[in-house]
């Protein structure tokens, strides 16, 4: 008889399927990517580019949406292997739903980030480096999850191959009491800057606003003018 089947480092459902490895590194779609999360008092702003590439050398898709809702009030970005990130998101969604139905309340964002860190550490063999942005009773949170399972909260964070370019802009412009409107324009400019210089990033912009009311994702084909944001 087996009861304690909840290994804290693995998803409760579909773990074996999840562990499957694709062998051919060359043909794995990766999002070189620039993804940005900024916490404000009103909620979290997440911005990403739209490029998928094979090893950063060939653009394999120009309209990827690299941010997805994983919780009623949280979203995650896809950074690294597309397959790894997609199954990661599916597993997290299943866990979030099980938690809610069993306990009658949504997982808070710290728990969500802890769980994501555990899975990144114990689970997939594809390197992923997502950002989780969410809102709970305590307020707005932005976490970055590194491929070894490191979980770090910050006021703003960037992951992906374009991070250095994007950080350059954010370090100059971010301030303590930044509001959602300003964060939206700043993040859009940062993604656009990264797209100019990083071969793994480009092809347009996706913005995602997470508030206590939910997750709202907007896709742009190119980089819109500031007054269109």
């Amino acid at each position: 008889m087996k009861l304690d089947n909840t290994d804290p480092y693995e998803p409760e459902l579909g773990a074996s399927e999840w562990r499957e490895q694709a062998g051919d590194e060359q043909n794995v779609n990766k999002t070189g990517t620039t993804t940005i999360g900024i916490a404000t008092d009103e909620g979290v702003l997440i911005a990403t580019d739209r490029r998928a590439s094979l090893g950063g050398r060939f653009v394999s898709n120009k309209q990827v949406v690299k941010v997805e809702e994983i919780h009623p009030t949280a979203a995650m970005t896809l950074v690294g292997s597309v397959g790894g990130a997609q199954s990661f998101i599916k597993s997290l969604r299943a866990e979030v739903n099980l938690y809610e139905t069993r306990r009658g309340e949504d997982m808070n964002i710290e728990a969500l980030a802890t769980l994501a860190g555990n899975f990144a550490r114990g689970g997939p063999f594809f390197a992923i480096n997502p950002i989780i942005g969410g809102v709970d009773e305590e307020g707005s949170h932005v976490y970055s999850i590194d491929p070894a399972g490191g979980v770090m909260e910050d006021d703003y964070t960037v992951t992906g191959s374009g991070m250095m370019v994007a950080y350059g802009l954010l370090e100059g412009e971010w301030h303590e009491d930044i509001e959602m409107d300003e964060a939206r324009r700043l993040a859009a400019r940062a993604v656009e800057s990264a797209a100019e210089r990083d071969t793994g990033s480009g092809n347009g912009l996706v913005l995602c606003e997470v508030t206590a009311d939910g997750v709202d994702i907007t896709e742009y084909d190119g980089f819109p003018d500031e007054n269109e944001l």
């Binding site: 008889m1 009861l3 069993r102 808070n108 710290e110 802890t114 769980l115």
Partner: protein
């Protein structure tokens, strides 16, 4: 003859329903709980009180070795009635589940979630061939999100939430007393006293101080605390329920 054999078979296999839909082994397990000494749980706005009777078979036995109250995590305790050895297995399930929750989500487990993970475990033993059910009932008390919570588990694996409850021997009488005397505005101290008085129903002489084990989980601190022997002695004396210990 054959008919009689078939009827008897219903209480042999745990996984077999009787024709009228009963699981005899589960019912027998409930009887095992009644044979145990009583435990009482009381929920007050200031916290949860768990009290268990510690019976000693002989003055030569060390009473402390009779374990009826168990700390599960900083904020949760469990009292048991019935087979102590069975209880220990469930206590360990609960302790591990509390730590799994901490590892998995980085947060302390809720009392309700913890109780349900224990009852799910108990339930498996009512549906698995070759196993027998747990001959024990538990009271799970703790603080969750700043609210005191008190749950009961029984051998069928059903969780119930209570304001005040008795399990084990003399359950009906003690429960009757609690139903008469309980009110929603008890202090934690008042809860301890009520629990002791309830335990004393049918034990007119009262108890020696080492005959009771008492723990609290206060709402404010959210921490499990076991009362010292002299504190229990003080309460018993105050309530005029103190008897000489047979250990002396």
């Amino acid at each position: 003859m054959q008919g009689q054999n078939q009827q008897q078979a219903y209480d042999r296999g745990i996984t077999i329903f009787s024709p009228d839909g009963r699981l005899y082994q589960v019912e027998y397990a409930r009887e095992a709980v009644k044979r145990g000494s009583a435990s009482v749980g009381i929920r007050t706005p200031e916290g949860v009180v768990l009290v268990a009777e510690r019976r000693s078979r002989s003055p030569l036995m060390e009473r402390d070795s009779v374990e009826k109250l168990h700390k599960i995590d900083d904020h949760v305790g469990i009292a048991s009635a019935g087979h102590v050895a069975d209880a220990r297995q469930l206590i360990d399930v609960a302790r591990r589940q509390a730590q799994v929750n901490q590892l998995r989500y980085g947060e302390t487990i809720g009392v309700e979630t913890l109780t349900k993970s224990v009852t799910d475990h108990i339930q498996q033993y009512t549906q698995t061939g070759g196993a027998r059910p747990f001959g024990v009932a538990l009271l799970v008390g703790g603080v969750e999100d700043g609210e005191p919570r008190l749950f009961e588990t029984d051998p069928s694996g059903t969780p119930y939430e209570w304001k005040a409850i008795a399990i084990g021997g003399n359950r009906e009488e003690i429960q009757g007393y609690l139903e008469k005397e309980y009110n929603d505005e008890l202090t934690l101290q008042g809860g301890i006293d009520l629990a002791i008085e309830a335990m004393a129903v049918g034990e007119e002489d009262g108890f020696p101080p080492e005959g009771l084990a008492i723990s609290t989980i206060a709402t404010e601190s959210g921490e499990y605390r076991t009362l010292e022997l002299d504190e229990i002695e003080n309460r018993l004396a105050e309530l005029d329920l103190l008897t000489e210990g047979d250990d002396e």
